[in-house]
């Protein structure tokens, strides 16, 4: 089939809504990143069971631990936001309620990411 789009439009891949497959694509991309990151988080969590506060801080403050953990929480928060946004749009039909719940979803995910990143930096830089 002959492409009716200009090459630039094809490259941007956004379609008529100027949004295109972004939601789908970012869900997939973040999901791929979360496979190793979440396995890392699980392994870390198990390795920290039974450790005292000082030991836990020492581990969490190391760059090799803090960096993947920050990526896990930030990418995880975006993956969560996109997934729950889809569920909200499936099940909530009232316009006002839908907008309010979508805002709460975004706020929740931003709050989790910010709280986790701030806490990890606080631990790493030794408060």
């Amino acid at each position: 089939m002959k492409a009716m789009r200009t090459p630039l439009r094809t490259v941007r891949g956004l379609g008529a809504a100027h949004e295109g497959t972004g939601h789908f694509w970012i869900t997939r991309i973040s999901g791929v990143a979360l496979i190793p990151l979440s396995l890392f988080a699980v392994g870390l969590a198990f390795s920290l069971i039974g450790r005292n506060h000082a030991e836990v801080l020492a581990v969490l403050g190391r760059p090799v631990v803090a960096v993947p953990l920050i990526l896990f929480v930030v990418i995880g928060a975006e993956h969560m936001r996109l997934g729950i946004q889809e569920s909200i749009m499936d099940y909530i039909h009232g316009d006002l309620l839908k907008v309010v719940v979508l805002m709460l979803n975004t706020a929740f995910c931003l709050l989790l990411a910010a709280a986790a990143v701030f806490s990890l930096l606080l631990i790493a830089f030794g408060a």
């Binding site: 699980v42 198990f46 969490l60 989790l112 709280a115 806490s119 631990i123």
Partner: protein
């Protein structure tokens, strides 16, 4: 003008309840439910990090809560939800390439998702219990 009277119930669009249950349906719903569970589970992860950053007293409280029988139960469920959602995601990646959507293969993949999540969860906790 008189209003038309309905003498028969109007036909309604068939919904989920009219279909026979299939493993693919169950795993599709499980994918969404585990996703929602992980959404709130992340609150626990972040709360634990905030507690660790807030000093020993808060850390002790979080540790006590997670170490209780209820905490362990939640963590086992969390582990399973994570593995199930992870394998469910891999299943979607397989489908994204255009393969595995046939009747038999998709059903097999659905069972495989469940089996892999259960085995991984059991294995993870078994390794922990045996080694630590």
């Amino acid at each position: 003008m008189s209003q038309p009277t309905a003498t028969h119930a109007r036909p309604v669009s068939p919904h989920l309840t009219v279909y026979r249950w299939r493993p693919t349906m169950a795993m599709s719903i499980a994918h969404r439910i585990t996703g929602i569970a992980l959404y709130f589970g992340m609150l626990l992860v972040v709360a634990w990090l905030v507690a660790a950053a807030s000093g020993p007293a808060w850390f002790e409280r979080a540790d006590w809560l997670l170490g209780s029988w209820f905490g362990i139960l939640v963590l086992v469920g969390f582990t399973w939800a994570l593995f199930h959602h992870l394998f469910g995601g891999v299943r979607h990646y397989i489908w994204d390439t255009g393969v595995g959507m046939g009747k038999e293969t998709s059903t097999r993949l659905a069972w495989l998702t469940l089996a892999a999540s259960l085995v991984s969860t059991a294995l993870t906790w078994a390794i922990y219990v045996i080694w630590f």
